[in-house]
Symmetry: C2
Subunit: 246 residues, 2 copies
DNA sequence: ACGGGCGAGTTGTCCGGACAAAAGCGGCGC
DNA sequence: GCGCCGCTTTTGTCCGGACAACTCGCCCGT
């Protein structure tokens, strides 16, 4: 048995798929052009329709071709779509805290949205939202950030069960069977508000960074808005985004 | 023709797929369990093997089942994997500038990496990298940010052709046929360095925000590192991440 | 000139068959 | 007890056929 026999032979449909991929890549069938029909491929290549169809199905799966009953197989891309999306594995990557920090809540209750808050939350001025205020504490008891969260009234029942560890939005997703579709995040820097400076044991008007985050549901509605003040000194907000498959 | 006839009947394979999906979701076949064999399904459902195979192929495609020749079809997930990845449509979303800003380069040339730069770039101290310094200018001529870029020596030939508009990493990708796989971004706040404060027409030690970004290639190598100082006043770094399909 | 209907061509669904390749299981030997 | 071998079972590849559903172009009627 010669070394040549060790190499497993690719299935016929895979070889036909590759031939068609090459033909498309070389521009023999440009974008918008029709590939040969199934019948033509069967006749030309001397294979069954079943085999041709499997090859074509894979081209569809790869995003190179679109097939329409009665019309034929049309080339829609010269190359497999390459991902341009860069992403993070989960929202938790935005949150800045591992499971070793705790949220100390010092106030929770329904409160009317002010003008600024209504704009942030995309709610109505005066509308009653669940307002939660607290301090994020590290493992050593050191305060890391102040936090100020507004939760949509639809999910206000979560109030008594807010998690000390882990993300509030996850708890809401689980409890109410909803799903965050989008997160809008804004980062700015400026002097710490007086209350935040005190809570974080920093001088009044020391520089801080404000992380504002709005979680949006699939239907476009705001789930919650959070504002977190961090002391700027020694704080770096890091993020790692990876290219996603196309 | 009654209204009932208007509803197109789902193909047989789709109905079988759905039955199997329901059975998996209800826990009738738990994760790790074997589904009935093709032969069993054909006999039970009184359909051809072709139809059963198509239904099973779709379960594989959906990520619920794995099939192994000789062994059978094993359930690997109870529910279709739900995306946890949140992403941005492209890196351009990180860059802060539309096409209406320009990069005014005031220095470019090979320079050795210092200690701090070597750490940022994940290169060697003393290694010669292409160093580019400049000012990001708005449409009205107002300075928006200072920028300081280190480009890997492998791509130093881009030096004379750095784009005034648009992203440098795109120009490098195109010219050298490489691909950014990952971006690491770090945001911090602190007093503007003297040179940056002057260039941005701000008081010395005014608060600024530093955006550091490292672009990593598919092989893990650094393409470039950029550091941009923005005045903190009036500057908000915003980002919108959307949940990606699973 | 425009719209509708019809026919030819093309893909989609579904049937049946055959052989190959891989995995699993049981029995036997060391 | 472990490993090897042979047989059975299960999925993978590929063939062929038939009918349904859809698309597109052409022709005819208004």
């Amino acid at each position: 048995m010669s070394p040549r026999d060790v190499t497993p032979r690719a299935p016929l449909y895979a070889r036909i798929e590759q031939r068609l991929r090459d033909a498309i890549a070389e521009g023999r069938y440009g974008v918008g052009a029709l590939l040969p029909t199934e019948a033509e491929l069967c006749a030309t290549l001397k294979v069954s329709r079943h085999t041709v169809r499997e090859a074509l199905r894979r081209l569809v799966e790869a995003g190179l071709v679109e097939r329409r009953q009665g019309a034929g197989s049309i080339v829609i891309a010269r190359e497999p779509p390459r991902g341009e999306v860069f992403g993070i594995p989960s929202i938790d990557g935005l949150m800045r805290y591992g499971d070793d920090t705790r949220l100390l809540i010092n106030h929770r209750g329904m409160a009317p949205l002010g003008r600024e808050e209504a704009a942030l939350a995309q709610g109505e001025v005066g509308e009653m939202w669940l307002s939660v205020q607290g301090l994020r504490i590290g493992q050593d008891g050191r305060p890391l950030a102040t936090t100020d969260i507004l939760i949509h009234p639809r999910f206000a029942a979560i109030g008594p069960d807010l998690p000390e560890r882990g993300a509030i939005h996850h708890a809401i997703e689980r409890r109410f069977g909803v799903e965050v579709a989008e997160v809008v995040q804004e980062i700015s820097a400026g002097p710490l508000p007086a209350a935040a400076a005190d809570a974080l044991r920093r001088k009044r008007r020391a520089t801080g960074m404000l992380l504002m985050r709005r979680h949006v549901l699939t239907d476009g509605q705001t789930l919650l808005v959070s504002r977190n003040w961090h002391p700027a000194e020694g704080f770096t907000y890091a993020m790692r985004l990876r290219r996603q498959e196309g």
